[in-house]
């Protein structure tokens, strides 16, 4: 078995083809070993994990991938016995960490062997000071005060947070909080570090910070296990374990998985851009980064070099406030908008001009804290600007009164659970129209329409809290759609959704846009901007830095780098050839045409 794993040609374990070898015959000191592990939550008949057998060598960086509900989190929770000790259900099989069977051990006892970092960084930080946060686990193990103090510095340095000891964790950015959570886990010096979707709630800068910290942690014999939706980020892993409906479907180095796009698609994942480009060009090799991809493409095709630096202006595109294509006033417009929060020294928004016309699809992007949500809430009428003018249909907001709070402008919050409260899906949708004073028959009609539109008709009588995250997100959109808004503002509508759910959600949003509803979408996801938006507004420190077409936006790598907005890999690769492609497919067409 060990020999198999070290021979590249035999590394891929198509587990359905290859029955698990006799685990007892393997004397290797695996960092982690799962033997025919199955688990079903509560009284559910459907297992979340089904006979998973997996062995991980010490020092390996393993990515665990799969669609939502594939069993990724359940799998990693078995490594410190959160499953089954914390989650009620039926557990079968055997888990070993460092050769030791975990049966009968308590979760807290395993914290020194298995460090775990969760997706929700707010729920795993308990202290008012970074040093105390790192010290927490060490205190639990009754380490001496001097030993605790000795471990804090190295743990923080390992994740690039040296010097943050006295900071209040609530004042850290999302990326810093998640790196602090990693430092907390590292302080106990675990042999295995598990990161369960650590970057889901982060902006591109936070994601980059966390993955940079993870890359620094490689080596030193520590085993790293990362659960993640995004295959692109996991190209640096030694191996990937692909789960589908609770079964380990495939386990191999990333290149071998990327070489099987049909399997990736079948499991509800997005093939990395670079792999997609190379595959479509008939290049069998796999590139881990843009440099490698460029070399592979140039080895097969003769293509021009990059455009000269500084070819495009870096200043904001001409302001669009007040402009219209058809002479009508914009749907909503802000002029010289300024907003300062109470007790804040600086303005959250400063001199922002923005006009959104009927039927537009605008992506609102920028770092965390750049003012995106503040601007969106001003547009929705939730926040009162300190300076400037807000016009709805060309009229001052005061003249428009509170009408735009009652349906004209819909706002879908990032977390759908911030609005869901009713006992059934249908009741949740009828809540808004009822508030507008519509009759029982009218609210029922609207519920029928939007349930059909968002594909939730079959679950109309279900308790909304029992729906999946993707379904709850669609319900939140449906509940706002029932108000028949002319402008729909979506605050990061795909956060926490897997690729298939993201596509489904965005297909819905695109369809609404086709029907004439203007869309303003706050997002951090580059490929969503490239694939769906037609216009991008970039905010930087409360000021508008860019307002223009998507291609022009993605064609300014310097500005994007300064704003920590990661280019889609296909776009980055296309710029090596002097063009700006928005997708892998577009780049492939361009290469074939220009070679």
């Amino acid at each position: 078995m060990e020999g198999d794993r070290r021979t590249p040609s035999r590394q891929a374990q198509g587990l359905s083809d290859c029955p698990a070898a006799s685990a007892n015959a393997c004397p290797a000191p695996w960092a982690v070993e799962l033997r025919r592990v199955s688990f079903a939550y509560g009284a559910s008949a459907e297992p979340a994990l089904c006979e998973v057998t997996l062995k991980i060598e010490p020092g390996t960086m393993l990515g665990v991938v799969g669609a939502s509900g594939a069993g990724k989190s359940t799998l990693v929770k078995t490594l410190n016995r959160l499953v089954p000790a914390f989650e009620a259900g039926r557990f079968e099989g055997e888990v070993r960490v460092g050769g030791r069977r975990l049966d009968g051990l308590r979760v807290c006892e395993l914290a020194r062997e298995v460090g775990m970092v969760f997706q929700d960084f707010e729920a795993q930080l308990f202290s008012t000071n970074v040093a105390h946060e790192v010290a927490f686990a060490l205190e639990q193990f009754a380490l001496a005060r001097q030993e605790i103090a000795r471990r804090i510095g190295p743990a923080l340095s390992a994740v690039g947070l040296a010097g943050f000891e006295r900071r209040d964790p609530t004042t850290l950015s999302g990326g810093e909080k998640q790196r602090l959570a990693i430092a907390c886990a590292l302080a106990t010096e675990p042999a295995v570090l598990v990161l369960d979707e650590p970057t889901t709630d982060l902006d591109p800068q936070g994601r980059a910070e966390v993955f940079a910290a993870v890359r620094r942690l490689r080596g030193a014999g520590r085993t790293l296990i990362i659960v993640e939706h995004d295959l692109e980020e996991l190209a640096v892993c030694d191996r990937l374990a692909l789960l589908k409906e609770g079964r380990l479907t495939f386990e191999a180095p990333p290149a071998e998985l990327f070489a099987r796009p049909e399997l990736v698609a079948r499991c509800g994942l997005r093939l990395p851009d670079l792999a997609a480009v190379l595959k479509q060009l008939g290049i069998e090799e796999i590139a881990r980064d843009v440099d490698e991809a460029e070399a592979l493409v140039r080895g097969r095709y003769t293509l021009p070099g990059p455009a000269p630096a500084g070819g495009s202006p870096e200043g904001p595109a001409p302001g669009r406030a007040g402009q219209t294509k058809i002479g009508r006033p914009p749907l909503v417009e802000v002029r010289q908008l300024g907003l300062a929060y109470p007790a804040s020294a600086s303005e959250a928004l400063s001199a922002v001009d923005l006009a959104v016309e009927a039927g537009e699809f605008v992506a609102l992007v920028g770092k965390n804290g750049s003012g995106k949500s503040t601007l969106a809430k001003v547009l929705a009428g939730l926040l009162e600007p300190s300076r400037g003018r807000l016009l709805v249909d060309g009229k001052e907001r005061s003249a428009a009164g509170r009408s735009h709070l009652k349906g004209d402008i819909g706002y879908v919050f990032q977390n759908p659970d911030h609005q869901i409260f009713a006992a059934s899906v249908e009741e949740e949708i009828r809540f808004g129209p009822r508030n507008l004073g519509l009759s029982h028959r009218q609210t029922a009609e609207r519920a029928d329409q939007v349930l059909a539109a968002v594909g939730l008709d079959a679950v109309r009588q279900r308790d909304p809290f029992l729906l999946s995250k993707g379904e709850r997100q669609r319900l939140a959109v449906a509940a706002v759609l029932a108000l028949r808004p002319r402008l729909l503002i979506l605050d990061e509508p795909t956060t926490g959704l897997d690729y298939r759910e993201q596509r489904r959600m965005m297909a819905l949003v695109a369809e609404l846009n086709r029907q004439g509803i203007a869309i303003v979408m706050i997002t951090h996801t580059p490929w969503l901007v490239a694939d769906y938006a037609r216009r991008v507004v970039l905010l930087d420190n409360g000021r508008k830095r860019f307002d223009g077409p998507v291609r022009e936006f993605l064609g300014r790598p310097q500005m994007l780098a300064e704003s920590a907005f990661g280019l889609p890999a296909a776009t980055a690769l296309s710029q090596r050839f002097g063009t700006t492609a928005l997708s892998a497919g577009e780049l492939v067409c361009w290469i074939r045409k220009h070679s």
Binding site: V107, C108, F126, A131
Partner: protein, 261 residues
Amino acid sequence: MPIYLYIEGESWLHRLHPVVKVWALFAAFWSVYWVDQPLALVPLGLLMTVAAQAGGAWANFYRLRYLFAGVVFFTALSWMVFYRQGTPLIDTPLVRVSRASLLFGFGRGLKLAELLGTSVLFLSSTKIEEFGAGLTRLGVPYRVGFAITLAFRLVPLFIDSALTVVQAQRLRGYEFRRGGPLARMRRYVPVVVPVFMEALRKANAMAMALEARGFGAGGRPTSLIDRELRRSDRMAVALLGGLAVAYFLIYYAGYGAIRPD
């Protein structure tokens, strides 16, 4: 915006042992409890002012200035009306004001302000972890102390969550201010349910994270901030003990009470 009152510093107030700070809180509450006479409350007020200056806590007192003013004003006003003893200066069926009621009302307002001030001073110079460590050293079970400190951490998160839910429902056309007091309370169901569900989810996630970080791994947890009492700590304990005794003697001698006439 910072959500805690704690102000980072190295003043003598910050450096006091957590147990001494908890003792100081108790001694101040004890002292205030025994007296109603505004004049008798002045020394404690002065002491608090000196401590606020030394501990760099003025920013918090300024931040809460309207709360302090409101507490003194409205408490004084209500007790001036409801305190029925002493020769009346104004006597109507609804309002009866006497010299004693003025003194009593002002004293009550001052008392509440001093209780509030002591708490602000404590929270300005004491990390929540120090508070927990202090409670544990005083014999409170670790889990109870931790639960108290965790509550400080969670309350602002839930308030933040509730404000977001209110915004979400307002945008769906919901009017919170409709009907009488009871009807208005019922109208908060669309806020309470999401916040409660969020609290359940958060509590579950937090419990998992706590376990995964070794909470309850066994034995008595140590503390990064735990240390032995210094000479300055012992002096502070003695001074505070003296203060508590002095206030009890003021009460015992009858100088702390308001005499109607």
